[in-house]
């Protein structure tokens, strides 16, 4: 069974932090993701939420992603979402059926997401 974890890496390039969401996340763990997002926005650190290692997210996590985008926009903090290159999987499926891929927006590669967050254009 894959471990369900949330990790924040602040040592990545261009001062962009990566919040890595690993394994399954739902209504129980969504508040923990919110806590990390709130801390990054308060510190005005541009960041990427990387869903590449996530195997499951529910609508509670989608709400966290949308709320992160809204707050990052308001505070002028760079923000983007990375989903990975895999065209299948439950996480991509839930983002597709809810129509959130262009809304967030979602980048297939982490590097592209980091570049977008760094330039402050990740959520435009």
């Amino acid at each position: 069974m894959q471990e369900n974890r949330i990790e924040v890496d602040r040592s990545a390039q261009d001062g962009v932090a990566v919040l890595s969401v690993q394994g399954e996340h739902d209504v129980y763990t969504a508040p923990s993701i919110t806590e990390q997002v709130d801390a990054l926005i308060e510190e005005r650190v541009p960041f990427v939420i990387d869903l590449t290692p996530a195997t499951f997210v529910d609508s509670s996590v989608l709400r966290v992603l949308l709320e992160a985008r809204r707050r990052a926009d308001e505070e002028g903090v760079g923000f983007a979402v990375a989903l990975g290159q895999d065209d299948s999987g439950a996480v991509r499926r839930v983002l597709e059926v809810t129509g959130l891929i262009p809304v967030l927006p979602v980048h297939p590669a982490r590097d592209a997401a980091m570049q977008a967050a760094s330039s402050g254009h990740g959520s435009e």
Binding site: N4, D26, V27, F56, S59, R63, G89
Partner: protein, 284 residues
């Protein structure tokens, strides 16, 4: 409906993942298509979120029931609560899931049905099947939530599983997530799954009801199994059979406590059985 797997759990956020693991076990047993299983887990999670967030007052420990069945191609899952039923909701509560639960259920299921009455709880029944498959039964006749249903809330996961190949994958998946939740180190988590597999291999021979009943709880650094109701003498019989494959008579080394309980239960009374085998595994 005769369910292959029935689960009863306290309606708490941490238990929605337990439901997903049980469904994964069902998917493993029936070799369900991975994408279909993903849709089932997403839709059922949303139905469970509805129970966890909306069915009961925050101070109330309510009951969440799940019935699941599969024919190897499609699946049918029913999520039931005994809470306030359909009530007007405040925006603040709805905000936690964006109100996306029902649209996701509608999009990902082949068909779904919501039944409920004020103060009698709510049932969400979902059928999942590939687009080109017509073999799976349609939704069964409408059935209102049962007001006379016993609404005692179990301490953790209570399962009734159809005897046969379903028992091992469902119990081992649920065992693993509860052991992980109780912070078991990997070696003790593996021990707990070995015990779960040993239970699954032989419990069917001693059950006094139709299904294999297994309750698993994670209390104070321990995992507690309670298997039954069993036929009279069944607890000792099951214990004798539970040699862990490849390890010989080593059950004593894996579990910290073995108890045979003799208790009342509606099923036991009906069938003559009245025994439960209780095993406690500490995290070491």
């Amino acid at each position: 409906m005769t369910s292959a797997v029935s689960l009863r759990l306290p309606a708490r956020p941490e238990n929605v993942a337990v439901v997903r693991q049980a469904l994964t076990g069902l998917g493993d047993a029936y070799d369900l298509d991975a994408d279909l299983l993903g849709d089932i887990k997403t839709a059922v999670t949303e139905a469970c979120n509805n129970v966890v967030l909306h069915a009961y007052e925050e101070t109330e420990d309510g009951l969440m029931e799940i019935d699941a069945d599969s024919d190897g191609v499609g699946a049918r899952v029913l999520v039931r609560d005994f809470g306030a039923g359909i009530q007007p909701r405040s925006i603040a509560v709805e905000e936690r899931t964006l109100g996306l639960g029902l649209p996701l259920i509608a999009t990902l299921s082949r068909s779904f049905n919501i039944r409920g009455r004020s103060d009698l709880g709510l049932e969400v029944e979902m059928v999942f099947a590939p687009r080109d498959y017509d073999g799976f039964d349609p939704l069964h006749d409408e059935r209102a939530p049962r007001a006379d249903h016993p609404i005692d809330v179990p301490r953790a996961a209570e399962m009734l599983i159809q005897p046969g190949p379903l028992v091992a994958p469902v119990t081992s998946r649920v065992t693993a997530i509860l052991a992980a939740r109780a912070d078991f180190p990997l070696d003790r988590l593996a021990d707990a799954v070995l015990v779960s597999d040993a239970i699954a291999a032989h419990a069917s021979e001693y059950i006094s009801g139709r299904d294999v009943g297994v309750e698993i709880s994670d209390d104070e650094g321990s995992l507690n199994f309670r298997i039954g109701p069993l036929d009279t003498g069944g607890a000792q019989g099951l214990l004798n059979q539970m040699e862990v494959p490849g390890l010989g008579q080593s059950l004593e080394r894996l579990v910290d406590e073995v108890t045979v309980e003799r208790g009342d239960s509606a099923v036991a009374t009906e069938t003559g059985g009245a025994e439960y085998l209780a095993l406690r595994i500490g995290k070491g």
